[in-house]
Structures are given as C-alpha cells and as structure tokens.
Symmetry: C2
Subunit: 141 residues, 2 copies
Amino acid sequence: MDFVIHPQLLADCHQLGKLQLCHVLLHRSAILPWFILVPETESSDLLDLPDDLRHAAMDEAAMIARFIKTRLGYEKINFAAIGNVVPQLHLHIVGRSKGDSCWPAPVWGHLNEAREYSTAKLERIATLLQGDCGLQRAIER
Amino acid sequence: MDFVIHPQLLADCHQLGKLQLCHVLLHRSAILPWFILVPETESSDLLDLPDDLRHAAMDEAAMIARFIKTRLGYEKINFAAIGNVVPQLHLHIVGRSKGDSCWPAPVWGHLNEAREYSTAKLERIATLLQGDCGLQRAIER
C-alpha cells in the first residue's frame, strides 16, 4: 500500500517530492525556510528508529540543512522531531538568522507572522533541490 | 585544553557525567525528564557535523531516549537541536506524556511550572545511567 502522509502535514505544507527515504515538505509560511522530512516508517519517534534508518534519515536532514545554508543563505539551523500533535514521524529543519521575526524563539508556537510563497519561488526551490539533492518532484496537490 | 561546557547550560542543568562523546546534563526542572547532551565539538549545528560524528551523537541520544522510556516510563520523546540562545551545540532529549503539564506544547518557552529534583532522585538517575548507558559520573558542581 502507498505510504500516506498525515493530512495535517499536507494542510500545513507544500509537498515538494521525495528523497531516497523521506518525503520533502515545505511549510506554507514563507517567513523562514521551514522544511519537514517525513521518513517512510511506522515509527513515531526518531530515536526509536533502528540505527541504520535513523542515520539515513539524519543524512537526508543534513543534506537539506546544507541546502538551506548554501542556497538560501541562512546561517543557522534549528532541528527537531516533536510530534506531540501530529503523531506521524516528521523532522523539522528550519533556517534561522539573527534578523528573523521569530528570533531567538524556536518557531514552534512562536511564528505569528504569515506570508505565502509565490508559485515561482516554490518552483525555484524544488528545481534547486532536484539538482542539489536528487529530489524526485511531486505533483502539488 | 579541557572542553568547557557553556556556563548557561551549567546554570540551567545538573551535570551528571559523560558518555563516549557527549557530556550528559539534566535540566533542573523536575517537571519532565529533560536531558541535554553536549558533544565535544566546536561545531554549533548538529547537521553540520561530519557523518560519523553526527551518527555517534545520535546513537548516544537514542540511548538516553531508551533510558527515558524504559527506566522512567515516558511514552514519547521530543528531540531538538536549537541553539539560538546558547551557541554551543547541545541536544535536547525530553520525555513527554499526554498528562504532563506542558502537553502538547514543546518545552522550549512553554515550561512555566517549576519543581526541583531531590538529591536522592538525582543520585538514582545517575546510578541507573551508569549501569544502563556506561555513564562516567561527574562531580556535581
């Protein structure tokens, strides 16, 4: 059966595509580059994954972090696996900079400002990810 | 030169000891089991670490997460590497349960209730970690 991404994540995010292990989502708030990786697993906690799967998920997270720093120009990454509201395992990789509107608070529960991505900007990010990280593109729903 | 843990982390936490790579701290708030691992590295971002070092840090985080679930009886783990306030790399591993006073918010910026660990409880946690995870005990400052 096809792996199903939790509807709350699909409501909150643009679905960009898939890496080897993880689906790549981008939070709809364009205030900060907030990527969410959803590994294809039934486990809810990152630290419950078998070593090889956890390492593979973290390698993909590191690839997205490098992308945020080098391509999008952010100096700092916040990383988290929380899942208190959406139980499906998902990894937050968020680009931060000292000038951002949420600094120094973490984004979870503190990002009040809203701005949408333009279609052109989304397309550019997905195209760059395809080239840099081997993203297999999704059809946006 | 000896590795120096950031003074803000030492102010916020009990210093329990060290695993192979990471120093093990326990947040002074006893509301939730909130462990903080400090790997001996100069890097500020978890996802900037070389693969082998990141995997080793995550293996130690997974060991602490298993400890929280099996020994302390918590069902859920929140994991994060943020570092917007304290730049020294440190990993949060927090035991959560649906009945806790902060649920479902993440602890960062949302933990308002305060309770101290007793000396006996701290001693018991450190002793268990010594047996289960090979913790080398620190002298509490």
